[in-house]
């Protein structure tokens, strides 16, 4: 006979509420900052992949929005998925401060080509990433959890390390002045390490956990999870090799292909199927974000291929827009509307259940507010895609304003979620 008891688990595994929340609020501020920058820069500055403002805007999105959200989420996810708490949770304050300052310095450096600022950014981001990565990696590897989700998270942490090291190397090289011969290829390798090795691996692993959990959908088959993890791992290794040997852009494309197919075609198809076939089909506007993300994913693959076959300057801009704000950004926004009220409920309301009236999750973040947030996000994406395709100055500035509106709505709703919840008291 075999037993499944899991006695001996420590009850207090999660971080304090302020740890993930602080990162989520900072990420929301990053969306607003991106919007303000886009509105200020306008089409004249954002029409080329090589312009400083474009690169700066991309990094507000990648480091400001995606990385900060994912760091905050990992502090909360690791105890739930792997049974391992990230040690020294109060270090998260320092991590956030360093990452925020480093992001600001990086964006300034990229927008103005200030060499000193690149070096300052590299130092701040190195420190911020170390204060996060080493405790998180220690927790995850020490836990030894053998689930596919845990494996995916380990791969994502390796991807984060890889894209961060490459990014820091690029920042340092930029700060030293001059552009090495392999600069173009390095940049594409860096971008795809981030998109696939870090974000793709994390989104895949998180989707296997949160879709069944929040939407009562079936799990993606274990064999598929394993295949996707392997494909992303192959891409991670291949991209690092391409970078190390300074191979040309076409080599980057071949290296990225397995991970791109896994993260932008296979996993979205499987997740879409589990959502579509779930038994309990209650109305939930956060699913609109999932559908937007899942629909954007194959478009990312198509646009990525298009960058190889055409020199049209709009294509790489479109690629970045759809990947960052369509695929990844929509998912992050949608999950914030579920995860924040969920965490607030557990920390603030659960101690009062049965003893006093407590608000439900829907009371904390109403579904109609989630829907409004979705339509703001969709509208800003539509404007961004139009701006990227047509290059019109007015469209870029309108995109910026729409981003600010999206961030403002999300930020206000997250604040109201916390304000509406009672202060926790022990039973």
């Amino acid at each position: 006979m075999s037993t499944f008891n899991m006695a001996g688990l420590r009850p207090d595994q999660g971080p304090p509420l302020f740890v993930p929340l602080s990162f989520f609020f900072a990420a929301t501020a990053a969306i607003a900052a991106a919007g303000a920058l886009a509105a200020a820069f306008g089409g004249a500055n954002l029409g080329s992949l090589w312009s400083g403002p474009t690169v700066a805007l991309v990094h507000v999105g990648t480091v400001g929005l995606l990385m900060l959200t994912m760091m905050g989420a990992l502090y909360q996810l690791l105890p739930v998925v792997a049974g391992a708490r990230v040690p020294l949770p109060r270090l998260a304050h320092l991590t956030l401060a360093l990452m925020a300052a480093g992001t600001g310095a990086l964006v300034f450096a990229q927008a103005t080509f200030d060499a000193q600022a690149f070096l300052v950014a590299a130092a701040l981001l190195t420190a911020g990433l170390c204060t996060f990565w080493f405790p998180a990696a220690w927790a995850l590897w020490r836990a030894g959890a053998a689930t596919r989700v845990a494996s995916g998270l380990r791969l994502a942490l390796m991807g984060l390390l890889a894209v961060a090291l490459v990014g820091l190397h690029l920042s340092y090289a930029r700060g030293r002045g001059g552009l090495p011969n392999a600069w173009v290829s390095w940049r594409f390798a860096h971008a795809h390490l981030g998109l696939l090795g870090w974000v793709g691996a994390l989104i895949s692993a998180v989707s296997w956990q949160v879709v069944p959990m929040f939407y009562l959908a079936k799990e993606v088959p274990q064999a598929a999870q394993r295949a996707i993890t392997i494909a992303l791992g192959v891409t991670l290794g291949a991209l690092l090799s391409v970078y190390a040997f300074g191979l040309p852009q076409l080599a980057v494309a071949f290296a990225a292909l397995p991970g791109a197919v896994a993260a932008w075609l296979v996993n979205p198809a499987l997740i879409a199927r589990t959502i579509w076939t779930r038994k309990r089909r209650r109305k939930d506007s956060s699913l609109l974000f999932w559908w937007l993300s899942l629909g954007s994913a194959p478009v990312c693959l198509g646009l990525g291929v298009a960058t190889l076959v055409t020199n049209h300057p709009a294509v790489p801009i479109l690629y970045g827009m759809v990947a960052l704000w369509g695929w990844a950004g929509a998912l992050v926004h949608g999950m914030l509307t579920r995860i924040v009220p969920f965490l607030v409920w557990f920390h603030r309301c659960a101690p009062r259940v049965g003893l006093a009236e407590v608000p439900s999750m829907k009371d904390l973040f109403p579904d109609r507010a989630v829907a409004l947030g979705f339509w703001l996000h969709a509208a800003s994406l539509a404007l961004g895609v139009a701006a990227a395709a047509l290059g019109a100055d007015l469209l870029w500035r309108a995109f910026g304003v729409a981003l600010v509106a999206t961030a403002g709505h999300l930020g206000a709703r997250l604040v109201m979620t916390v304000v509406r919840a009672p202060r926790a008291r022990t039973a």
Partner: protein
């Protein structure tokens, strides 16, 4: 039937690995590990209804459903099915039930997955609890209020 064990909750799958022998005897042997208010859930039981009847003849409380037998030295508490609730529904239901529970009584529920985030709240309320994963990935939750 008196129980001499200390286990609050056991979940066993007779199929992994499959053992030869009388399933009634195997289940009864496992039930000896239970404390008085403990619950044993056994999956993969051939002819579960007959096994449950045989266990009742031995003085245990037992019921059977679709190849699964549930056993206890004391009267079996009803099992609340919470797998159809989205989070935090299962946690809310368990915590609410805990506040209404009489000292010494047991609340038993099936949740969609192992409810890790519930644990600090059970501990905070001084509850006794035990949670076991079932073969289908759901979790069986045993909660009691100390006398």
């Amino acid at each position: 039937m008196r129980s001499s064990g200390t286990a609050r909750l056991l979940v066993i799958d007779l199929r992994a690995p499959r053992r030869e022998g009388d399933p009634t005897a195997q289940v009864a042997a496992a039930a000896e590990r239970l404390q008085a208010s403990g619950v044993l859930e056994v999956h993969g039981v051939p002819d579960a209804e007959a096994v449950a009847a045989a266990l009742r003849a031995r003085g245990l409380s037992a019921d059977a459903e679709a190849g699964t037998v549930r056993v206890s030295p004391s009267p079996l508490p009803p099992v609340e099915e919470l797998t159809g609730l989205e989070p935090p529904g299962p946690a809310e239901r368990i915590l609410d039930a805990l506040t209404r529970l009489e000292p010494g009584a047991v609340f038993l529920a099936v949740t969609p997955r192992y409810p890790r985030m519930l644990l600090p709240h059970l501990a905070q309320r001084g509850a006794q609890w035990e949670i076991a994963e079932r073969p289908d990935g759901t979790a069986l939750v045993w909660v009691s209020k100390p006398r």
